[in-house]
């Protein structure tokens, strides 16, 4: 029966290849509407082999339970939103035909449907669907699909889909005990070229092979393993860069307040949190008033988060921190108290539970690169971190404020003598550092839970990054963040996430003891504080 079906199908393919005026016959429609399962199966084959462009929609609808059969063997597709269309012609309908009911299926019919759908997809117009169908055959290794695969392979143009089809072909050859050794060795080579965990699993599961084939299989597994390792290293590095860019975002504001000004701001994490909550509020306002702009909400959130966190930072600096300059330990304690109050304030205002911040559509989804699947959100955060870093560098090196900031940090009294209002420069510097933390909050809201504890999770890491990279040096912060991120992710496969983090912390603590001024210390003489 199945052999017959595939024969029929092969014939169908040939027919489809010719620009035939193929159409779904009344007979096929009658079989589908018959209510008899065996007849329905025949009907499915007739439709599938008809070569009609509507065939795939009909079979898909049948498989989803959306195909209705009515009096006079009319076939209607009812979408889940209630819109109706004639199955054969595709014309929209206003009302259901008389006695239209969903066609009932049993498991046998469903199996037939799945196989037919797979084969139809192999010749779909969309390369992604063709490829998915080929991958499905690669996994099922269904011998009956061999003819369809070969037929599709013969006229496939897309190289990626060809590789998948060839792999599916090879997988069927390999698992078929009747094929010869030469064919099998060739098939092993194809599978090795495909690579990946599935291919390795397939090769490892083979048994009862001749020595010649077995040797080829062992070699192929070796090749696949090497490739897998290489890709996983690349993947780890990418994840590391991604984590590093998150750390960079969280730490770069701290590099300003702690690194440049020497103020220990334990409430820095809460500035990040304020940024994340600003994003939440912006999204809520947009969702309720102008839903069409939702995709652009982050563009509004970034400057607002900068202003909110920066204003809070400046207020803190003016009212409290400036009284504690030169007393770093007291500053540490005071700002820690502040962080507790900010957390509790947010908890009182927004509740203790996580708040949902949505991803705009352009940030969701992923793309494939070689053996990797990379999400857009991570990619955008990496780019965003670089942009923030460059912008901050420009502010420090190219603006009057940046010049004054550097002057005040290098020699406060001299700067004051030159007419720089050091108080205001302090205040603005702290505001910029806090504002950048707020911007980091916008990015973090996309990948982390927005809760009052958001900032706490980053504060120790951020300090580590700044201290590791060298206080007062933005480039050091960049290198520090990226190397910490990458080391963390490279350790993870061997040590596990928690142990990896512990190892990094211990190594950092040892590192700080060897080089207390970090990787890139500022050169010059400093008075022992």
């Amino acid at each position: 029966m199945r052999l017959l079906a595939s024969l029929l199908f092969a014939v169908g393919l040939i027919l489809a290849a010719a620009p035939a005026r193929a159409e779904i016959t009344a007979d096929a429609a009658a079989k589908l509407a018959s209510g008899d399962y065996d007849k329905i199966i025949v009907g499915i084959e007739l439709v599938a082999n008809s070569g009609d462009p509507r065939a795939i929609a009909i079979i898909q609808a049948l498989s989803d339970g959306k195909l209705l059969a009515g009096r006079g063997d009319t076939l209607t597709i009812e979408e889940s939103d209630g819109t109706l269309s004639d199955a054969v012609t595709g014309a929209a309908l206003d009302a259901k035909p008389a006695e239209a009911k969903a066609i009932r299926l049993n498991n046998k019919v469903r199996r037939s449907l799945a196989a037919m759908l797979g084969r139809l997809n192999l010749i779909d117009a969309d390369p992604a669907r063709r490829r998915a169908a080929a991958e499905a055959v690669f996994k099922s290794r269904d011998k009956d699909s061999l003819a369809a695969i070969d037929a599709a392979l013969a006229k496939e143009q897309d190289s990626g889909v060809r590789l998948s089809l060839a792999a599916a072909h090879a997988a069927i050859i390999l698992t078929d005990s009747t094929t010869g050794d030469a064919d099998k060795v060739a098939a092993v080579a194809v599978i090795a070229e495909r690579g990946g965990q599935d291919a390795k699993g397939l090769l490892a599961s083979l048994s009862d092979l001749s020595p010649q084939v077995q040797a080829a299989v062992t070699d192929a597994i070796g090749i696949i393993d090497t490739n897998l390792l290489a890709w996983s290293a690349v993947q780890a590095v990418y994840y590391g860069i991604s984590l590093g860019s998150v750390l960079l975002l969280a730490a770069i504001g701290l590099a300003i307040t702690f690194g440049v000004m020497g103020v220990i701001n334990m409430a820095h994490g809460e500035m990040v949190m304020l940024g994340a909550y600003t994003t939440f509020v912006v999204q809520e306002v947009i969702r309720q008033n102008i839903p069409g702009l939702f995709d652009y909400s982050l563009i509004f959130a970034v400057p607002l988060a900068f202003l909110v966190a920066g204003a809070v930072g400046m207020a803190i600096e003016r009212t409290m921190i400036r009284f504690l300059y030169g007393r770093p330990l007291e500053t540490l304690l005071m700002t820690f108290g502040l962080s507790l109050m900010l957390q509790q304030a947010i908890r009182t205002l927004f509740g203790a539970s996580n708040r949902e911040v949505g991803n705009p559509s352009w940030m969701s989804g992923s793309f494939d690169l070689g053996g990797l699947s990379l999400t857009y959100s991570r990619l955008y955060i990496i780019l965003f971190a670089i942009a923030v870093f460059v912008a901050l560098m420009l502010v420090l090196k190219r603006t009057a404020l940046g010049l004054q900031m550097r002057a005040v940090t290098q020699n406060r009294r001299m700067a004051a003598s030159m007419g720089i209002r050091t108080n205001w420069v302090d205040s603005f510097t702290f505001g910029i550092g806090s504002g950048v933390a707020g911007i980091a909050g916008v990015a973090l809201s996309q990948i982390d839970n927005v809760s009052p504890n958001l900032g706490q999770g980053y504060i120790i890491d951020s300090f580590m990054v700044v201290v590791f990279g060298g206080v007062g040096n933005l480039w050091g912060t960049l290198v520090g963040a990226l190397s910490l991120g990458i080391v963390n992710k490279l350790l993870e496969p061997f040590a596990g996430a928690v142990l990896g983090k512990i190892i990094v912390l211990v190594v950092l603590v040892l590192f700080i003891q060897r080089r207390p001024r970090g990787l890139f210390p500022i050169k010059g003489r400093f008075v022992d504080s």
């Binding site: 005071m334 108290g337 507790l340 509790q344 009182t348 211990v506 603590v509 207390p516 022992d528």
Partner: protein, 382 residues
């Protein structure tokens, strides 16, 4: 020697503190055990456990004051030493459960049976003996502090850098103890304790005894710190605090002094943790949370840094306030604690002990001035 020191005129305050501590503890024990439950002066088991807990926190505060107040090392990791001492005691208490656990295994604690472990990890051996546990209560935090301090002080990590790496240390330990494979009960920690040295922990008398023991240990810790602070050693420590480089150039080995005091202080914190665990009946990784360590610093700051007596006062007062506030208005506690940090650092850098006399004198001065009559020169340093 200590007795001679205490007998001296200038040490009357220390004597007063020790006597007050022991006297109050004894009074509480008597009121708890001897009076009927309906008497107006009866102290409930709940209050006894609470006061016992405060005394342990006061001992931790004392340990923090010794390093922060006298040597200027702001440790944000003393909670780790406290927790390590607590875990050592908890391991002893776990082994005392024996077959009374849920699974009734004579050797393995319940959580190990639950994790399907077959035998006791090597580091659990010996904890069925109290003397061994007693040594470990001091050795575990002491050793960690010694190694950590040796590495840090030798390479002259000071100030906020030291604070941050001590915080990283306790954070790393927090993460480590959350892991089930560590063999310390994962995030549930150690609990379900039954008895200590043969005394049931459910008994009122045992709890009262623990409270009294805490008071005695606190008094001993106070005497030890007092003796250190008023010895030649103490003067060197203050010199290190105020001018580290100068002390080094005079010829003192600053690192050695720092390591010594840091280790001693860690041992005190460990003992505090060990006394704390049987009174609250549980020890879990949250004790390692960086917040706990910073809270301990604030107790000292509130009481008055570098006064010893202030640390005890701060430890007890702040925690008493925490109990009151978390019962009445739980959401206000963090505001209050955060506010405390800010008020103390901005307005009362000397803490209660340092500020109260000046404040009293100021109030007195105002009263005298307000009174009509012959003008008298004010004694207060306004």
């Amino acid at each position: 020697m200590i007795a001679r020191k205490l007998a001296g005129q200038q040490h009357s305050l220390a004597l007063l503190v020790v006597a007050g501590l022991l006297g109050l503890a004894a009074l509480i024990v008597v009121l708890h055990l001897a009076l009927p439950a309906d008497s107006a002066f009866y102290i409930s088991s709940y209050a006894v456990a609470l006061i016992g807990k405060y005394l342990c926190f006061a001992l931790l505060a004392l340990a923090v004051d010794l390093v922060w107040g006298y040597v200027g090392i702001l440790s944000l990791g003393h909670g780790a030493f406290f927790a390590l001492g607590g875990y050592a005691m908890g391991m002893y208490l776990m082994r005392q459960i024996g077959t009374r656990g849920v699974y009734g295994d004579p050797i393995l604690p319940d959580f190990m049976v639950f994790l399907n472990w077959k035998e006791l990890p090597w580091y659990w051996f010996g904890f069925d003996q109290f003397w061994f546990a007693f040594i470990m209560i001091m050795a575990a935090p002491g050793l960690l502090a010694f190694v950590f301090g040796y590495l840090a002080f030798r390479s002259r990590v000071t100030g906020v850098y030291l604070s941050i790496i001590t915080q990283a240390m306790t954070f790393a330990l927090l993460l480590a103890f959350f892991r089930n494979d560590m063999g310390f009960g994962g995030n549930n920690g150690l609990t379900d304790f039954k008895d200590l040295l043969g005394f049931s922990l459910a008994e009122d008398a045992t709890r009262a005894g623990l409270l009294f023991a805490s008071a005695v240990v606190l008094a001993l810790g106070f005497i030890a710190c007092w003796a250190i602070a008023h010895s030649r050693l103490g003067k060197v420590l203050v010199a290190i605090r105020d001018a580290e480089s100068r002390t080094r150039f005079i010829g003192y080995r600053v690192e050695q002094y720092k390591v010594l005091i840091f280790t001693l202080s860690a041992i005190m914190a460990g003992v505090a943790g060990a006394l704390y665990v049987p009174q609250v009946s549980i020890i879990n990784p949250s004790e390692f949370a960086p917040t706990n360590s910073i809270e301990a610093v604030v107790w000292v700051a509130v009481g008055g840094r570098g006064t010893l007596f202030g640390a005890i006062l701060g430890g007890i007062l702040v925690n008493f306030g925490k109990t009151l506030l978390t019962n009445a208005l739980p959401e206000l506690w963090l505001f209050a604690l955060g506010g405390l940090f800010i008020v103390v650092t901005l307005f009362m850098p000397k803490g209660l002990v340092g500020t109260a006399p000046a404040a009293l004198a100021w109030v007195k001065g105002r009263l005298h001035r307000a009174k009509p009559g012959p003008a008298r020169p004010s004694e207060a340093g306004e």
